[in-house]
């Protein structure tokens, strides 16, 4: 079991126990803006899910224009209100991302965070193009699924930027506890992200009629096992570290919610909804909630992985055998 470094008698009362303090001032406004961008991105994912659940993806046949115009507001009825509403929220998120990237680039001292904000901008551009291509090519499953996967990738980036600009990340030194268990927690969190990403692609392929439902349902069992294992490890061994505990608790809660929503979505769409004449409200609500909670679950797991990487590093002598242990953390 790992020990808290700050309790290690060799470091007691020395400067080393504080580890590395990042000399970046906390920018409250930038952080608030990043949080706002992440929240609007979740709203955008909900808007996108509404388009798919209402089968409204092609109600506006052209792109990047809407019925031939960049600025004219179409009559917002039927499928148009979902498709054009999604486009409007997407444009707003694009604008927010541009502002976030420029603001971060101009004020942030951490070079990697500046690069991450530019990566966010690149991702949102790719996402916009994928959205356009899927309309122009009549919703091919591969492009529509890529659009769904990149949407959640962008959401994860937005959440990470919000976390990295947060006061806790910037001002509080990491509370480090070395990981001595096998397998170590950090690879487990990476495995959790991987199985969630596979699940996202399988779900998107099913939703966009590129695959049957059963791979997504079968893989849900794998996701449940891996994420539960990760959460239990994090909570049983590292519950003293608040950032890890909170993320693991949230991940576990979202996992349970997501499994319940997945079951409801299966009933309303596959079991009861296969012969429906039009999208019905229970199916729309359950599938949209399933997509939104899925995005939150993926982002929470990414946050957990980053917090584990920060707070629970593998003991240094195990990474570099024979070397004197030196505190290392972000």
């Amino acid at each position: 079991m790992g020990r808290l470094l700050r309790n290690d008698p060799r470091f007691a009362g020395t400067k080393e126990h504080r580890l590395k303090v990042i000399a970046t001032p906390y920018n409250r406004r930038l952080h608030a803006f990043a949080v706002f961008t992440a929240c609007v991105t979740l709203l955008l994912i909900v808007a996108g899910a509404l388009v798919t659940s209402n089968d409204a993806g092609l109600s506006v046949p052209d792109w990047p224009t809407t019925f031939g115009s960049f600025y004219k507001m179409p009559h917002m009825v039927g499928g148009v209100k979902f498709e054009h509403g999604h486009r409007m929220v997407a444009e707003f998120v694009g604008l927010l991302t541009i502002v976030l990237a420029v603001w971060t680039w101009r004020t942030e001292k951490r070079r990697w965070l500046r690069m991450l904000s530019v990566a966010a901008l690149g991702t949102v551009i790719v996402q916009g193009i994928l959205g356009g291509l899927t309309v122009l090519f009549f919703l091919p499953p591969a492009i529509s699924s890529a659009h769904a996967a990149v949407a959640q990738t962008f959401f994860c980036i937005a959440v990470c930027i919000a976390m990295f600009t947060g006061q806790k990340w910037v001002e509080e030194p990491p509370q480090v506890e070395f990981d001595t268990r096998r397998p170590t927690l950090f690879p487990l969190t990476l495995l959790s992200i991987f199985v969630l990403y596979v699940q996202l692609i399988l779900g998107a392929m099913f939703r966009h009629k590129g695959m049957s439902w059963w791979p997504h349902v079968v893989h849900a069992g794998v996701v449940a096992v891996v994420l539960t294992w990760t959460a239990i490890r994090a909570l049983s061994v590292y519950s003293k570290i608040a950032a890890v505990r909170r993320s693991a608790m949230m991940m576990l809660s979202l996992l349970i919610t997501q499994l319940c929503l997945g079951f409801t979505a299966f009933l309303t769409r596959v079991a009861w909804g296969k012969d429906t004449l039009q999208p019905e409200l229970p199916m729309v609500i359950s599938t949209v909630a399933h997509v939104a909670v899925g995005a939150l679950l993926l982002a929470t797991t990414v946050v957990l992985a980053i917090q584990v990487w920060r707070h629970v590093p593998v003991a240094f002598e195990e990474r570099v055998p024979g070397t004197e242990r030196t505190p290392q953390a972000a």
Binding site: G57, L58, F67, S69, F138, L277
Partner: protein, 262 residues
């Protein structure tokens, strides 16, 4: 510095051009008078001796203890959509099954037929397609009209023909399209009004019919021969029957679909 200025000006000019292009565009369907698929020149039609032609007619029944009740559709998401709100996927009246596409599937050999010059009309009215099932010859023009005070989009999702998706605002000019390849039960839908679905059947010969509300059909002008008649329903599937038509003979071929197929 000069390069930056030049790049900025170029981007602004490009954006202005895009905006100008957008302003000049009208809604999609108005700018596209026709959308005929490219087809190879049709070979000359095989001559048919009109003095010997016969016909096949009959009725299609729904074979079940209790005919299915028409499902209700909810059109409330567009206030412009008014009228009947019953689905047309299985229409049964006193045991007679409507909207069955009946055609000569086999037996015509290598005969070729002239493509009619007249268009087949597909109307959108009351946020429904009229007719619900349509037959057309490959290469024949389908004229699509919008008689509703709301915009529709017409989106066929074929397997063998080219897919397209166009919007049609109220009072817009009809959209004219052709389908190059044979395809039975080609689904057409409107993504703005998700209950709007219909089927186009593209065949190579003029020997087809769609059953009416009384379940009856008639195929006229058939040259004598042995044929396979196919009965295709969007939900109940396909059933075939063989029939021999002699000179000037009128044959009756009835068909029934079982409820269990649903």
């Amino acid at each position: 510095m000069k390069k930056t200025l030049l790049a900025t000006l170029s981007v602004l000019a490009l954006m202005a051009l895009m905006l100008l292009a957008a302003c000049n565009k009208k809604e999609t369907s108005e700018s596209q008078p026709t959308g005929a698929e490219t087809t190879a020149p049709a070979p000359a039609a095989t001559a048919i001796d009109q003095a010997t032609v016969g016909s096949v007619s009959g009725a299609v029944k729904f074979d079940g203890a209790a005919p299915p009740k028409a499902q209700k559709i909810d059109m409330s998401q567009d206030p412009a959509c008014k009228g009947s709100n019953e689905a047309e996927n299985v229409v049964v009246d006193k045991g007679s099954l409507a909207n069955v596409f009946v055609y000569v599937k086999d037996g015509l050999g290598s005969r070729t037929f002239d493509v009619p010059k007249e268009s087949v009309v597909l109307d959108q009215s009351g946020c429904r397609y009229h007719p619900h099932v349509l037959g057309v010859m490959a290469g024949q023009t389908v004229q699509i009209k919008n008689d509703d005070p709301t915009t529709h989009n017409i989106h066929p999702t074929p397997k063998d023909n080219r897919e397209w998706n166009e919007s049609q605002p109220p009072q817009a000019a009809p959209i004219e399209k052709t389908f190059a390849r044979e395809e039975v039960m080609l689904p057409v839908k409107c993504n703005q009004h998700p209950w709007m679905k219909m089927y186009i059947n593209v065949v190579k010969s003029p020997f087809y019919a769609v059953t009416g509300p009384d379940g009856k059909y008639e195929i006229k002008g058939l040259p004598p021969g042995d044929y396979t008649i196919a009965f295709v329903h969007e939900k109940l599937g396909e059933q075939d029957q063989k029939v021999t038509v002699g000179p000037k003979q009128s044959k009756t071929v009835d068909q029934s679909f079982k409820a269990g197929a649903m």
